[in-house]
Symmetry: C2
Subunit: 418 residues, 2 copies
């Protein structure tokens, strides 16, 4: 019999309270123990993965899953090495919890501190890639959050085995709380998770557009992520043709299925080398679509919508209308236009003479990436560990009461301390 | 005929894009113009308010509204003066938009800036208090957000008049965009607003528990606020009796209907002066309830649930179980216990030897307060202007492409600049 989701959620909440102030050294030891344990037991993980792959092959035949899902599901030596290295890298990142973000004297003997702390319980819903488990589990441990994972059914054996090994490692670390990392498997669990706002504080979907859209419209729990990446590049009148060509080719072809790949090229009507630019794109095997049915199409392959616009303003308006607020760039020699573009385009990333493909937590120097968010609250753009934290206010007094201030017996003397 | 809400929302979105990069000087001039215009036309506002009060008197008779709603609705000279002063104060606050939060060289010629920017469109749903309009409108202008206001029907005339005067002032400011502040009046508009996640980025409810609970469970748009304030004070074994009494009296009686008033007193079983403490509370007209039906009761009056607990751990567990994550304090001489309490209690404010009534944006030195949030994402505790901002990443290159880094021709040299 499958356990009620609510019990899993309650245990996660309890675990989140226990891990909230666990010291950095214990968390880092736990991460190293997890990396070591996965390294030691990798053969078992490969075996579990083989079972999933065998099942998946049948599902390809029946059309239940695609070849690309199959590829993401497959763990090889390289992915395993990256997985293990990723966990060790996270253990080396700066401690995100307990940072003093504000230290303010309110009055004599009355001191306010704003201190970073974990969010609580994360609900992670992901599709095929089993390496998400170790990555998200490590980020959760580092940031003192508890997590409930729900992976795709096609990777069930691999996921189960990886979590078993992670928990074997965590159990070996003295004082590490139980139930920090839990996993569910049923589709019904997702529906329960989305309703569970009493115990789950943040949902992070890792998967295709439809998954993310479904989740965003079916929960009142905050969701961190992006449903789509409709990125634009606007080639301004004064753009350098070589730079324009090189940047657009990179943004479209370097990894076409990435969310930060460009989907629409906007060209100023007075850009003299328009034909040359388009020819160079075609030479690089980019299929150009001058009149797409929908200007919000995310191709995920070497196809690009192209539109000639009359002005910078029209480009900005097009992007704010059809874009997804992910990452949009301008190629220009005109600094004023670049500044206007970057101020007026309402996206997480606004780029000037650079490829949209730079939108990534590692490239930004965050060390690890939770995902890329197109939200307008909490965390936007590539999200590092900081996105898994919030803060609390600690106030220390000496019997201070508000009535003294209301009556004018005392007054506030706000002063920021170091 | 009432206009479709969607058109109002679209105009707000457009206005939000126009005000996004309006310079600080224009915004501050606009705020001063609003304050001056309200001062000049205050008689008209009082007249509109009189109409609402006359209607409200009838509604008291029929039981549709309470006496306290009537009091909140009533504008007098003092409230008017505070309203006008509040707008001028906001114009003097530090500019919240365009702050450089991170300035990082990623590689030669490739620079990343994280810059604060507005959220976009705010939906404000509030009850009787008409002074909310000027306050929220001012905060929205200062933070370059557009806003759609929905007030209670009992203050319809006052609200309409105040907004008319605000927009008269804004129209007088050259280049100030249209439709930054709009208002709706119908109950049906609230239902539309909650569904309008394409155009509205943040909902801020200002009102009673039921309003906030309804909103939180009926929208997937982020909601900033708190449904209830179940604040606790734990009197530890080593507490000073005089401090305990003074702080609890302040926290309960200084303003009993405030959300940061204490609702539950927890006393350590070994606190020797328990009887003395309870007697002093009763002397201060506090009604003590030793066995409440519900430990999550927000009294809003001089009534206090009281429980004797066996340990600090039991106090922490009680608070994390029955509290609302608003503000909770410990009274103790034991520093270790205070630290444990502040780390383990999962609330926006954790206090040591101070009254819970300090949980307030003005007392924290934020200059203005959007509200108090019990959220675990975006903004927590008293929220100042910063809570109405998010950030975008601006990347400036010189034709940089990711392929050069993927092929190892270039490597990242992350370096934080001043």
């Amino acid at each position: 019999m499958v356990e009620d989701f609510i019990n899993i959620a309650k245990r996660a909440k309890q675990a989140s309270l226990e891990i909230a102030d666990l010291n950095a050294q214990i968390k880092n030891s736990a991460l190293i123990a997890v990396a070591d344990m996965i390294e030691k037991h990798q053969q078992e993980i490969f075996e579990a993965n083989s079972q999933d792959l065998a099942n998946a092959e049948k599902m390809i035949e029946t059309g239940e899953i695609s070849k690309s899902v199959f590829n993401r599901l497959k763990l090889d030596e390289n992915k395993m090495r990256d997985m293990i290295k990723g966990i060790r890298d996270i253990s080396n990142l700066e401690e995100p919890i307990g940072k003093i973000l504000l230290n303010r004297k309110l009055d004599d003997g009355l001191t306010l501190q704003k201190v970073s702390c974990p969010i609580g319980v994360l609900g992670i819903i992901f599709e095929a890639r089993p390496d998400v488990i170790s990555q998200i589990s490590s980020l959760a441990i580092k940031s003192s959050n508890a997590v409930i994972l729900k992976g795709g059914k096609e990777s069930k054996n691999t996921n189960r085995k990886i979590l078993e090994i992670i928990n074997l490692a965590l159990d070996s670390v003295e004082v590490f709380p139980k139930n920090v990392i839990q996993q569910v498997f049923e589709r019904e669990d997702v529906a329960q998770m989305l309703k569970c706002d009493k115990y789950i504080n943040l949902i992070i979907p890792r998967g295709g557009n439809n998954l993310v859209k479904y989740i965003k419209s079916n929960t009142s729990i905050p969701v961190l992520g992006h449903a789509s990446g409709i990125c634009h590049i606007f080639v301004d009148e004064s753009a350098d043709i070589n730079m324009a060509s090189s940047v657009v080719v990179d943004a479209k072809t370097q990894y076409p299925s990435a969310c930060n790949a460009v989907e629409t090229l906007l060209i100023h009507k007075d850009f003299a080398k328009k034909d040359e630019l388009l020819a160079s794109l075609q030479l690089n095997e980019i299929k150009l679509v001058p009149n797409p049915e929908n200007w919000s199409t995310e191709y995920g392959e070497k196809t690009l919508s192209v539109k000639v616009v009359n002005s910078l303003d029209e480009a900005i308006e097009h992007i704010n209308t059809y874009g997804s607020g992910h990452t949009d760039g301008i190629i220009t020699k005109n600094l004023e236009n670049a500044e206007k573009f970057m101020n007026k385009v309402d996206s997480a990333g606004v780029y000037f003479n650079a490829s949209t493909r730079f939108a990534d937590g590692f490239r930004y120097g965050f060390g690890a990436e939770v995902g890329i968010s197109t939200n307008k609250t909490h965390a936007r753009g590539p999200v590092g560990l900081e996105g898994l934290t919030i803060y609390k206010y600690k106030l220390q007094g000496n019997g201070h009461i508000v009535d003294d201030y209301a009556k004018g017996l005392k007054t506030f003397h706000h002063e920021d301390l170091n």
